[in-house]
Point group: C2
Chain length 256, copies 2
């Protein structure tokens, strides 16, 4: 019997032109692009598993993808080799052979998501591809206080998109922060760039975007910490705020 190797790949992509991570009948998916590139280097019908099934428009700097193969082709084929066969908006950043079988999604202990936004200005087009512009009147201190409420172990039903087939909706959020991003890059010269970072053991469908959309809701409707607690306790998606746009969201890191 041939020995099965487990390959662990770190993957970056610009999600703008993808229907998401997962293969869909008529969509251009990241998973589909990687499987097609694997076929081109001789590994036909290889199922690639992603740690996070990111939605359409969501980006990744540190997605993890795994697959198993009995092929003996050198590891180099799985970064440089795949990259020559992949479209420019997805890159294999690193490929490594894992010492034991690894399932990218089921074995992930924690994931880190970043959500980037700027406030109040007409955004430069080269910025607005990768961040959301929110109204000036959103109070960021109140947003940070509301965000802090999600830390810990909670049933996140109120922040789970309808259509999810997941039954068990308790997740642990280890860290939740809202901070200014300091940069001398002239791209950000006249704007204040902010980042909401969430680290947790798992995320429900559109959970990050629903949390961000809730804490950054504006004006009269802006949610404070007490209201955020009430929303969480209600376990009802209709109680939370709108879903923040996909373009500000990045899958940053997956921890095993």
């Amino acid at each position: 019997m041939k020995r099965l190797r487990t390959i662990h790949m770190s993957v970056g992509y610009d999600g703008t032109e993808f229907c998401g991570w997962q293969v869909q009948p008529n969509g251009r998916s990241v998973q589909g692009a990687i499987e097609a590139a694997l076929a081109k280097i001789g590994l036909r019908d290889t199922a690639v598993i992603g740690a996070g099934r990111t939605d359409a428009g969501v980006h990744a700097l540190g997605q993890v993808a795994t697959f198993q193969t009995d092929s003996k082709i050198p590891l180099r084929a799985f970064d440089a080799g795949l990259n020559t066969n992949l479209p420019e908006d997805v890159r294999i950043l690193r490929a490594a052979e894992w010492p034991r079988p690894l399932h990218a999604r089921k074995d992930a202990r924690e994931k880190v998501y970043d959500y980037y936004f700027i406030q109040g200005k007409t955004a430069q087009p080269v910025l607005s591809r990768y961040c959301w512009t929110i109204p000036a009147k959103v109070n960021l201190e109140r947003a940070a206080a509301a965000l802090a409420v999600v830390r810990g172990t909670h049933d996140f039903s109120s922040f789970c998109a309808s259509g999810s087939d997941v039954e068990y909706k308790e997740r642990i959020i280890e860290a939740a922060s809202l901070s200014a991003v300091k940069t001398q890059h002239p791209l950000f010269a006249n704007v204040d760039l902010y980042c909401i970072r969430l680290r947790g053991n798992g995320f429900l469908k559109q959970m990050v975007r629903n949390i961000v959309g809730s804490v950054l809701s504006s004006g009269e409707k802006q949610i404070d910490a007490q209201t955020m607690q009430d929303i969480l306790a209600a376990r009802d998606r209709r109680r939370a705020g709108p879903t923040a746009p996909a373009k500000g969201l990045f899958l940053m890191q997956v921890i095993y």
Copy 2:
């Protein structure tokens, strides 16, 4: 006789999907997009002039566009009003009424161009849309010394693309620098981002990209300061290095 107003607009765009600034028979141009948006708010057949005729794929954070009109519609129509009629990859950042007639290109005293690049790594797709990745073996100190040669008044024929119909090729470069860009943005966490900035009274066709492509040429062929002087003195495009990709170039500022 109606009074002619001169409108001065600051314009940002992502050049990736444009054939460049200037209207072309079968291309999607920035100028064309702005003129079409002006038509939609009632200003048909208005000629918009850009300070820099950026090429296909070149971005802008601070392009300047001017036009004249006898319309009395409020200034607000020329930023918010135009933006609702423009595609997402171009935005009017500010619109102002200029106290005297102004020709965006002919009256420009100086322009600032930035060229962004990173070195040696497989670039994140969300980065590679806006910067060039160069080989690790390029010596950046030598590149900076070669770059310094372009400061001052020179005939830049060696760095002018063929097909330019400009006859007088002397230009003054007031500043030329190569520097590291410091940022805490996680997008740049594992890469070294650099910027070549040029400020001058005028730029020939593809001049910035030809200078950048020359000073960042790699390996045996890497150009030193003496060779750069020889190239400049030769006034012959064939002597200089390759043209750097458009995607790293940004028109940053126009000074009147």
